[in-house]
């Protein structure tokens, strides 16, 4: 980040602008970038999910709007924007509007925590991995509010389930995170990534010492995202559409956006913790070797690192969609039992194994 800031400062100096303008405006730039990237990623993530699910179920998926249905989600988004915002009778209007925002805005913030390359982690301080877990829990509050404010029984049951689920799954999630912190001796995500570099390509990734943790974290991640087989809060065969039954138009779009953006970010987080984040699995960067100009080489390395983050993230996303295509839904009390009786002991066991490995090495 310092390096980019330095470049930005130099640019402003060229235009004879004072330093404080750079100080104020610099943090805005990555966030604009992030917000734009988020929308683009979500749009294509939705399409990817539909295409991959179609592939699993022997269908073609969206193929009418644009080549291979590329613009299908954009068309859907425009449709949602144009739709009437219905606020049903008897709702708490303030909370009803607040809930989708509460679900969406934290997602924007967490996005800044993920280190996409060596110099691009916007919210970078010593314990930012903990911040991720904290902020990622806020959308649950949005879901609870949505269920409470909707004045609809399906929504209420859905949101209560969602909270019960979140409480059960946060704990193993944090224990696994703890094991990663033990391995990396740092709580900063960039340091965690750098701790995974080794002389042999991809051998230092934490997925090897903490494989059990990886599995637990993946399961908890799916539960945190309310995705199949843990999609009880929106189990359509029981609760119609769960907490967002009464939402329409833009407010629904916010929930939808938050859900998919969170899916991407959770997978990016798992990739960062376990799969070496922005590190190249080849062991070297192509740009570094090919481009003689130092500045351009550095720049290309950043892009390459971002590319690897995306590749690893999409691999995990594909796995999540695969799980969704394969498994039926769990029952609510089975789910909490699974969290407390299986995942929590496993995460503790994982912590023990990791500590032993750390002590031996």
């Amino acid at each position: 980040m310092d390096y980019l800031y330095f470049l930005y400062l130099e640019l402003l100096h060229k235009w004879n602008l004072p330093d404080y303008i750079a100080m104020v405006t610099f943090p805005i730039i990555p966030f604009c970038f992030v917000a734009a990237a988020l929308i683009v990623v979500v749009i294509f993530l939705v399409l990817a999910e539909r295409k991959i699910l179609a592939f699993f179920t022997q269908r073609k998926g969206p193929n009418r709007v644009g080549p291979w249905g590329l613009f299908q989600t954009i068309a859907d988004a425009i449709k949602l924007l144009c739709k009437e915002n219905i606020t049903p009778e008897g709702t708490d209007k303030f909370l009803f509007t607040l809930a989708p925002l509460l679900a969406f805005i934290p997602v924007l913030v967490v996005w800044g925590i993920i280190p996409f390359c060596n110099e691009f982690d916007i919210i970078s301080f010593s314990i930012n991995s903990l911040l991720f877990v904290v902020i990622a829990a806020i959308p649950i509050l949005g879901i609870l509010l949505a269920g409470y404010a909707s004045n609809n029984k399906y929504s209420l049951i859905g949101s209560v389930r969602s909270v019960a689920q979140a409480i059960s799954y946060e704990l193993p999630l944090i224990f696994v995170l703890l094991s990663i912190v033990v391995l990396a001796s740092s709580m900063n995500l960039k340091q965690i990534v750098l701790a995974q570099s080794s002389i042999y390509p991809f051998c230092g990734y934490f997925v090897f010492p903490a494989f059990l943790g990886f599995v637990v974290f993946f399961a908890c991640g799916i539960a945190e995202l309310n995705r199949c087989p843990f999609d009880l809060p929106e189990a359509e065969s029981e609760l119609v559409s769960g907490y967002n039954t009464e939402y329409s138009g833009m407010k629904f779009a916010f929930f939808f956006l938050a859900e998919y953006a969170m899916m991407f970010i959770m997978c990016a987080f798992i990739a960062t913790l376990f799969l070496g984040g922005f590190l190249s699995p080849l062991g070297f960067y192509v740009g570094e070797k090919l481009i003689p100009n130092e500045f351009l080489a550095n720049l290309s390395v950043y892009f390459e690192q971002a590319f690897w983050v995306f590749v690893k993230t999409f691999f995990l996303i594909f796995c999540m969609i695969w799980v969704r295509a394969t498994l039926p839904r769990l029952k609510s009390h089975q789910l909490t039992a699974f969290a407390w009786k299986v995942l929590l002991p496993l995460s503790l066991l994982n912590l023990l194994i990791v500590c032993l490995i750390k002590a031996v090495l």
Partner: protein
């Protein structure tokens, strides 16, 4: 909204999982179902009253709509009753054709049930797989009868027209590939631990209760009672065919699922035997009866057929005129819906779908 800490919740008539327009009023305590009240009648079309103002032939096309997933069964039940009353002879070849189409229909009905049951449990993919295979069957029906669901193929004294070798060949091809597909379903569903925990020991229907509530069909056989009206149907040629009646013993949702899966395999056996017979034998498929002006002598008859959702009975009373005096339908789903409150009491709300789906209820058959 709240009385005595119980949450009253209304499932349907428009709800993604009620298989047509069926409505339940549930009382929940937390996630536990305290009581369930089915509300039926949203699909009532007056099938029985309709019969009284139409001639026998005019009524025949509407009969398929009693149970839109098992059109052949309703059609057969009505035709059989009329044939018995009017002493119309049905040739052997048309009996074979009837059994062939009945079993294909049973298979297509079970396939749709399987997909939608898993959809109720939150698994989306099996629906598409079963629809893919059902599609083959529906295309075959379309080729044979011109219709995909409401066939109107049977008529008094036989079937409307004969099957042809080309079509039989296609059916034989389908029978050849289908066992592998059923094995696929078993691999993805039966061996799935989530599916097993959600259905085993859920919604147990005891022998006693099953008999009390007049449950028939696969639901009854899953409770351990070997009752299959195909075995003693003298009007069809089931006695010449080699097949087994599959039963299970614990009567839970998983057994009901297993019975249907096994039944699909038996269907294939029957279909291939019928195809072989039809390929090797010739004959008339329809008796010379003056259909439009058919007069049925005075009398009454009940004909039974083993439909996918239990025994489908058609009672026909004739007063000697060209129109039936009274037609009464008895269908399996109606009794399953009656049973539902008893099975649901004290179970968890998510179990509702695991139980309700396993009974294979469809709304038009309940309301008629």
């Amino acid at each position: 909204m709240q009385t005595n800490n119980k949450l009253k919740i209304n499932i349907g008539p428009q709800h993604p999982s009620t298989h047509g327009v069926l409505r339940f009023v549930l009382e929940l305590d937390g996630e536990i179902i305290k009581s369930c009240e089915p509300v039926i009648g949203y699909l009532h079309r007056g099938m029985e009253k309709m019969a009284e103002s139409r001639t026998y032939l005019q009524y025949l096309p509407t009969v398929d709509r009693v149970d839109y997933l098992g059109g052949f069964f309703n059609s057969y039940a009505f035709c059989n009753a009329v044939e018995n009353l009017a002493q119309i002879e049905v040739s052997k070849r048309s009996r074979y054709i009837r059994v062939l189409t009945l079993e294909m229909n049973r298979l297509s009905s079970h396939l749709l049930w399987l997909g939608s049951y898993l959809l109720d449990m939150g698994a989306t993919s099996p629906l598409f797989y079963t629809l893919r295979d059902r599609e083959v069957l529906l295309s075959l029906f379309e080729e044979l009868t011109g219709q995909r669901l409401m066939y109107n193929y049977y008529t008094f004294g036989g079937v409307r027209h004969d099957v042809w070798a080309d079509w039989l060949k296609k059916v034989a091809d389908f029978v050849e590939i289908m066992p592998r597909k059923i094995q696929d379903y078993e691999d993805i569903i039966t061996n799935n631990p989530i599916f097993a925990t959600r259905t085993k020991d859920i919604g147990i229907l005891s022998k006693h209760k099953a008999l009390q509530y007049s449950i028939t069909g696969p639901n009854l056989r899953a409770s351990g009672i070997d009752l299959d009206s195909r075995k003693d149907a003298n009007n069809l040629i089931y006695d010449e065919l080699d097949f087994e009646t599959k039963i299970a013993h614990s009567g839970d949702s998983f057994d009901r699922y297993m019975v249907r899966i096994e039944e699909m395999r038996e269907c294939l056996k029957i279909i291939s035997q019928c195809v072989n017979w039809l390929m090797g034998n010739e004959g008339d498929v329809i008796s010379p009866v003056k259909q439009p002006t058919l007069k049925v002598p005075e009398g009454e008859f009940i004909s039974n057929v083993e439909a996918p959702r239990g025994i489908c009975s058609c009672y026909v009373k004739s007063d000697g005129s060209g129109k039936p005096y009274r037609v009464k339908w008895r269908t399996g789903s109606y009794y399953a819906v009656q049973l539902l409150p008893k099975l649901l009491e004290g179970t968890f709300y998510p179990d509702m779908m695991a139980i309700f789906g396993s009974l294979d209820v469809i709304a038009p058959e309940v309301d008629r």
